[in-house]
Amino acid sequence: MSLAIETKDLSKSFGEVHAVQKINLKVREGEIYGFLGLNGAGKTTTIRALLGMISPSAGSVKVLGQNIDSGGRGPWKDIGHSVEKPAAYPELTVKENLEIARRLQGISDKNAVERVISQLKIALYANRKAGHLSTGNFQRLALARALLHNPKLLILDEPASGLDPAGVVEIRELLKKLVKEKGLTVFMSSHILTEVSRLATRIGIIHEGHLIEELDAKKLEAMRSQRLEVRTNQPELAESILKKAGYSVNLNNDLLILQDDRALEHPENIATLLVNEGSPPTRLSLEQENLEDHFLRLTGAKS
């Protein structure tokens, strides 16, 4: 499968600040790539480099098979984008903002504006000035502009930001549909982990300018660490029983936590052991680290 986005050792510094360093991204055509990172991690800088808005200090960027240079040339007729917070001319209506975008995109189909207005469900606000829109509808306008020219690749920076929960679900379903029906590739940055996990097929995690992990979303599920949590009426006794049996145990607020493979693979042995030794478990559960915890552990934001 060919690559929609490929960066090789992409680095960008602003004076002494190294915004991104040696980023090697590979986004395959037809996938939804979630680009995760904390604020200031380098997500927007990477996106701006993908769109030719900044020139890399080192490395190269290729989008839809075309090298992106600093002169602003690129396969833009096939790329829809929304960078950082959504923007529009406040004194112009939704329709006029989209009409400007239609003309600058060189789209001859005059119905394109009506199509995206209906697709993004902003028909009610079509003649409202953009400056009078709610944050959510402003975001929809930005997405409408990004989808106006039926792009092959959509590059979105925090697309769910500002949307209400229903809007988030709606946009997610729309993107899934476009990927499925039209083979669209989506590269989206976010710090909303649950949103990324629900939508992305691949995930890259960026931290302090470095791409620290890149993997399939399914693999991420498997990689998230597991632990066995055990409660008994005599936690200290249970702890000594388990330690005597060679398990590594942490006692935390009367909760026994085991993370070694032996315990995770055969939790029933733990139950049997504790029952036989006279400290039967009152609760025994296999817990999986949630995505937030995994992300924070990776980025070192949580010890």
Partner: protein, 262 residues
């Protein structure tokens, strides 16, 4: 060409929907009104005093109540105020893209950046010229209403030519204002620049080397209502053309090459 026209259409739509050009025109309208007022006063100072328009000690600039003085006032006003008013328009055309965060929407498009910037530069020239023509028409109306004596077709065309030249030369100083609005990513730096150049232009005029200072050149044309005792040398025009070319080229290069990270 189609995409350039699309960019130009977009700029015209922004102008039509904004209050900034309208307010600038309104500000500029003060010029023919004040010129007309001066004509009323010059025509009959005693009556003006009776009407309470001027007080006993009011001092008026020299001149008489005729079309030549009226056109002279209009041209001089355009030469001096034009620098500020045209800069406001230019600062708005370019600076608003940063204030509204819309600049990033102009960068990765099938319409090349230079076409968008050229369309903007064209608007920063055409709009001030249009406003100047409107002000001239209003001025003519006021002149007729006040019934100023001494009109001649020859004087009209000479003054009109001077006004156009003043306006064109002033708009040629605008690309540099556009560059400063772009680099400064706001309205304020170009407005600061406009006031600075206006002040320097006055100093240069007083020092006697205004013909070498591009920001003074337009007001030198206006100084005597088209009747220059010593016509401006070619070097004065060349220096304005030089500033224009530098402004256009650097603005285009900036939009093409500068990092758009903010």
């Amino acid at each position: 060409m189609k995409l350039f026209l699309a960019a130009f259409w977009a700029e015209i739509l922004k102008v039509r929907r904004s209050k900034v050009p309208l307010l600038t025109t309104a500000g500029f309208l003060i010029l023919p009104m004040v010129s007309g007022l001066f004509m009323i006063i010059l025509k009959d100072p005693e009556k003006a005093k009776e009407l309470g328009i001027i007080s006993m000690k009011a001092q008026l600039i020299g001149g008489s109540a005729d079309w030549e003085t009226f056109f002279g006032m209009m041209n001089m006003g355009t030469g001096i105020a034009g620098l500020i008013l045209f800069s406001i328009i230019t600062a708005w055309v370019f600076g608003r893209e940063f204030s509204d965060h819309t600049a990033k929407e102009l960068l990765a498009l099938p319409t090349a950046r230079w076409k968008i910037v050229s369309a903007k530069l064209l608007v920063t020239m055409l709009l001030p010229l249009g406003i100047t023509l409107l002000i001239f028409v209003v001025g003519m109306g006021i002149g007729y209403a006040v019934d100023i004596p001494g009109f001649s077709r020859e004087l009209f065309w000479r003054s009109f030519g001077s006004l156009l030249l003043i306006a064109i030369l002033t708009t040629m100083l605008m690309p540099l204002v556009a560059l400063i609005a772009s680099i400064g990513r706001s309205y304020l730096p170009p407005l600061g620049w406009a006031f600075l150049t206006m002040a320097l232009a006055q100093i240069a005029a007083v020092m006697g080397w205004g013909e070498w200072f591009p920001w003074t050149v337009p007001s030198l044309i206006s100084e005597v209502g088209g009747e220059l005792p010593e016509p401006l040398g070619i070097h004065s025009y060349l220096i304005v053309i030089f500033v224009f070319i530098i402004g256009v080229i650097t603005t285009l290069i900036w939009w093409q090459k500068a990092d758009q990270a903010a």
